[in-house]
Every structure is written in structure tokens, then in C-alpha cells.
């Protein structure tokens, strides 16, 4: 298993896509955080609360959603890339145990996914604290809360990346799998969560978001951190299990 994990890491080190996705995640996270900080306390219903409030600071700290989304997309590319470039043949010739290959991909994607969350939480925290300090406000959120939000972003990104590996194995078409992830995140969860508020905490992207500090609409309470983490981890295990079962049965033609 160690050999397969090292192989997957070497694969990622020898292409540019992971770094490109990480840079994109970092850029988008910085952009939305800076825009939010600049508009905090401003007019309009889209403007975040002022930065001298807990709600305002939390709003900025929790802007790690793009990193989580792109971590999931990264996970998709780790598995579906094998089919997009027909490298699955070489992979399974070297390692015929497909479950082992898929497990190594999920572990490595989750590990790199943690990095997406780490970079994003470092950026949101740094930018938020810089804006708060620049305005001369006191930080209204405790260090423990900031650390919990960061841990949520890191863990959520890692788990969503692992889910992405499963989705990429199930759908195989890289474009279709990426579109599916975006549709799920931006449409399905928004529509389902909007229509049935009580389901929001149980939807994977939303649950991961709450781990990183995002508030839910409609007065719905988020799940406790550990429960939300267990839920997303459970979804990752189920998706990976289904993907493994499907991959073992599939012909690599």
C-alpha cells in the first residue's frame, strides 16, 4: 500500500494540475475574502457585517468554500484523469489490485486536500486579521474559534477531495464528473437546502462549510463539529466503497 501511495504522490509531483488547482483555490479564496473585508459593514444586503462584530469576522474567516470545492475537483481529476488520458491501462497493469489503487488515490487526494484547506484558512485568517487590525478594531473571535474554523476547512477539504476521487471513479468522464461536482455544490445543495431547511446540515458541502464556520440560512443550526466531520467522512467512505465495487467490476477497454 505504501508503494501505491508513493506512486500516486509521484504522479502528482510530475504534473502541473494539482499546483494549478491549489493556486486557483488560493487566488479565489484571497479574492472573496478581500472583497468581503473591503465591503464589511457597507450598504446592501450582500455586504458582510462590520468587522468589529463576531458575525463580521466569522463571515470572512469562513470564506474557504472555493478551496473545499476545488479540493473536491482535485479529487475528481486524480481518478478520472486516468480514464481521460487512458493511463488507467498502465496503472492497472502495474497494480492489478484496483481497490488498492483507488484506496491509495483517496488517501493521497485527502492528504493534498488538507493542503487546500490549510492554504485557504491561512489566507482567510491572515486577510481578516489584517483588515481588523487596519481598522483598529479588537478581534472579537477567540483564538480557539479561529483554530476550529481552520481545522474545519482543512478536514473538510481533505474529506471532500476523497469524495471527489470516488465521484471521478464512478463517472470516469472528467468533464462530466467536474460538472457534477459543481452542480451538486451550487445547485442541488442550494435548492434542496433552500426548500427543506432542516436538510442543510446533512448535505456534504454544506456540512463541511459549517465545520469551517459557515452559518446556515433559515435559522437552522449546524451540526456539532465532530458530528459534521463524521457525517462527511461517512459519505466519503460510502462513495469510495461504491466506487471501489464499480471499479473492480469494470472493464478497462
Amino acid at each position: 500500500m505504501i508503494r501505491q501511495i508513493r506512486t500516486e504522490l509521484l504522479k502528482l509531483r510530475t504534473i502541473r494540475l494539482p499546483l494549478g488547482l491549489l493556486a486557483t483555490a488560493a487566488g479565489l479564496t484571497a479574492l472573496v475574502t478581500i472583497l468581503g473585508a473591503a465591503n464589511a459593514g457597507g450598504a446592501g444586503h450582500m455586504a458582510p457585517p462590520p468587522l468589529d462584530t463576531t458575525a463580521g469576522v466569522t463571515n470572512l474567516l469562513s470564506r474557504t468554500g472555493f478551496a473545499m470545492l476545488l479540493a473536491a475537483v482535485f479529487g475528481v481529476t486524480v481518478s478520472s484523469g486516468e480514464f481521460r488520458h487512458d493511463t488507467a491501462t498502465a496503472t492497472y497493469l502495474a497494480t492489478p489490485n484496483r481497490v488498492r489503487v483507488l484506496a491509495a488515490k483517496a488517501i493521497v487526494a485527502a492528504g493534498v486536500g488538507l493542503l487546500f484547506g490549510l492554504v485557504a484558512s491561512a489566507l482567510t485568517t491572515g486577510i481578516t486579521l489584517a483588515f481588523v487590525a487596519a481598522k483598529g478594531y479588537a478581534v472579537t473571535v477567540s483564538g480557539a474559534t479561529i483554530a476550529r474554523f481552520a481545522a474545519g476547512a482543512v478536514l473538510g477539504s481533505g474529506l471532500l477531495a476523497a469524495i471527489g476521487v470516488g465521484v471521478g471513479s464512478l463517472i470516469r468522464s472528467q468533464l462530466a464528473a467536474i460538472v457534477a461536482v459543481f452542480l451538486w455544490s451550487f445547485v442541488v445543495e442550494q435548492v434542496v437546502g433552500g426548500l427543506f431547511n432542516s436538510t442543510q446540515p446533512y448535505l456534504p458541502f454544506t456540512a463541511a462549510g459549517t465545520m469551517a464556520g459557515s452559518a446556515l440560512g433559515g435559522g437552522t443550526s449546524a451540526l456539532p463539529f465532530a458530528v459534521a466531520a463524521a457525517l462527511v467522512a461517512g459519505i466519503a467512505v460510502v462513495v469510495s466503497g461504491v466506487a471501489a465495487r464499480t471499479t473492480v467490476q469494470a472493464d478497462i477497454a
Binding site: 498502465a90 502495474a94 472493464d251
Partner: protein, 306 residues
């Protein structure tokens, strides 16, 4: 002793029967051509042998084991299946490093196989910059990473220029001289005729022939062309027991299903003068087309109907 054994192998893709109760064996240390027209089921058979495709029925083994049962399979079997199985922006060198690591092969072997296929000077370039021929060479380098005793090559000459084809031929012969077993597929018999010891010919998923090249041509249909003023009389005397006679002119016959010696002896017995007699020994390509009932026209029809 057989290294590769395919027994009653059957593969059905939905309504399409790609391989139909196919059985053949490949002996150790031989180079065997695996032939058939496009769509005959060659690639499906090879992929099943390599554990990439699950058989509907039957078995395909290497050294008595299914590919999935082999420990460190790249050390036993090297395969070239298609020229495009590379991540385009990864360098050839890195591709080989990845494969070596995955198979637990010493990374030092990478330089050796690059030298073997003549890519040592271009290995740091991205594969997307490679020509089809260079990709084929990289595929062969990948197959050779584990220094395997068995090589399975699916249409390895595709994309190679004449010099590349000659290089491939010499490489395969060299590998055979080292005692390796090579199963090489092609839809062009002439492409492998100078390389292989024997052939397995399939068509529509079924075995058509397995024999040495000599036996294949020896048993093939020959045409005896005769010019004689007694064409009618000779035709009447010889045209039975599976012998087919065609009058191509008043004094000319084309006779199939017999030997020139028999025709000559019969003509002598009947005192029929033979003014001219020639025999067209069917070449390998004719044999191939006869066995697969797939002349150029049939090929074209298949491509259209697919």
C-alpha cells in the same frame, strides 16, 4: 511448454460477441503472431489476458496463472497496448519512473530501457511533444521495465516509419533470442511474417488457424494454371473430388485443390499435351485473406458496417 494459455475464452459486450470460445497456446521462447482483421477480437483477447477485461467465460493464463494472480506482474509480463496511454504533460522519464515505482522496479532500470528504445536523448520532453513512433518506443520501454520473460504487443508497428518497423523487428527477434516469449498482434500479416515463428489467426472472435508459417502456406490453396489444346478433356478428367476447374480461355484452365504434379501425371496418362504450366503459391497475405474471408473489399464493408 506453454507460457500463455487461452482456453474457451468468451467475451460479450452487451449484444456484441467480441471473443467466441477462443483457445490457443503460446510456447515458451517463441514469437507468435496474433492475427486477424480489425474488429476480430485481438485487443479484447489481449486485454482479457492482462486482467483488464473480465471474461464472460473461459480462462486466459500466463505461466498457469491469471494476470491478477501474478505477484509483481510487470516482472513477468510486459505489454504494449496502445500508443496514447500517457499523461500528455508528463515527461517520458517521469512516466517510466512512475511505472517503475508502482511495480517495485529499481529506478535505475529507467535509463536502461530508454537506451534500449533509443529515447535517452529525448526522455525529459513531455510525451505530448512525441510523435506516434516515439510513443510506441516509449510503450515498449515501459513494457521492458521489469525485464519480463513474456511480452504482449498489440499492433506495435502502428505509427512506426519503415526504419522504425525494421528496428521493432530486430528488437523482437533479439528478445526471442534471449529466450523470451512474444505474442504480437497485427492486422497485417506481412508486418509480422519476418518476425514470428508461428501464427494464431482469429476472425469474428473465433480461432481460424494456429500453425507455423510454413505449414500455413503449405496447406493453403494453390492455383495451377495450364495452357493446353485439350482443355475440355483435361477439365472433365480432373474436375472432381474437391478439385475446382475454371476455364479462363479456350485453351487455358485454372485448377485449384490439387498439385501441379497430379495435373501433369493425369495429362500424360490421357496423352494431352501441356504447352505451359505454372503454379501460383499463395503468399501469406492470400492465406490470411482466405482464412479470414476478409479481402480488401470485405474489410471495407466491415469498417462501414461497424
Amino acid at each position: 511448454m506453454s507460457v500463455i494459455e487461452v482456453h474457451e475464452l468468451t467475451k460479450q459486450f452487451g449484444p456484441v460477441l467480441a471473443v467466441d470460445h477462443l483457445s490457443f497456446e503460446v510456447d515458451r521462447g517463441t514469437v507468435v503472431g496474433f492475427l486477424g482483421p480489425n474488429g476480430a477480437g485481438k485487443t479484447t483477447t489481449l486485454r482479457t489476458l492482462l486482467g483488464l477485461v473480465k471474461p464472460t467465460d473461459g480462462r486466459a493464463t500466463i505461466n498457469g496463472k491469471a494476470y491478477l494472480e501474478l505477484a509483481d506482474p510487470l516482472r513477468h509480463v510486459g505489454a504494449v497496448l496502445e500508443a496514447s496511454s500517457f499523461y500528455p504533460s508528463r515527461s517520458a522519464w517521469n512516466h517510466l519512473r512512475v511505472q517503475a515505482l508502482a511495480a517495485g522496479i529499481d529506478p535505475g532500470r529507467v535509463e536502461e530501457v530508454l537506451e534500449l528504445v533509443g529515447l535517452e536523448g529525448t526522455a525529459r520532453r513531455k510525451v505530448e511533444e512525441f510523435s506516434l513512433g516515439m510513443r510506441q518506443r516509449l510503450g515498449i520501454a515501459t513494457a521492458m521495465l521489469g525485464d519480463p520473460e513474456v511480452l504482449i504487443l498489440d499492433e506495435p508497428a502502428n505509427g512506426l516509419d519503415p526504419e522504425g518497423v525494421r528496428w521493432l523487428r530486430e528488437l523482437v527477434r533479439g528478445l526471442a533470442e534471449e529466450g523470451r516469449t512474444v505474442l504480437v498482434s497485427s492486422h497485417i500479416l506481412a508486418e509480422v511474417a519476418q518476425t514470428v515463428d508461428s501464427v494464431v489467426i482469429i476472425d469474428q472472435g473465433r480461432l481460424v488457424a494456429q500453425s507455423s508459417l510454413e505449414a500455413l502456406t503449405a496447406g493453403a490453396r494453390r492455383v495451377v494454371r495450364v495452357r493446353t489444346p485439350g482443355a475440355q478433356e483435361l477439365a472433365a478428367a480432373i474436375g472432381h473430388d474437391g478439385v475446382r476447374v475454371e476455364h479462363v480461355a479456350a485453351d487455358r484452365l485454372e485448377i485449384t485443390g490439387t498439385t501441379p504434379e497430379r495435373v501433369g501425371m493425369l495429362a500424360a496418362e490421357l496423352r494431352i499435351p501441356i504447352l505451359e504450366s505454372t503454379t501460383d503459391a499463395a503468399d501469406l497475405e492470400d492465406v490470411f485473406f482466405q482464412l479470414t474471408a476478409a479481402g480488401p473489399d470485405a474489410h471495407a464493408e466491415r469498417e462501414v458496417s461497424r
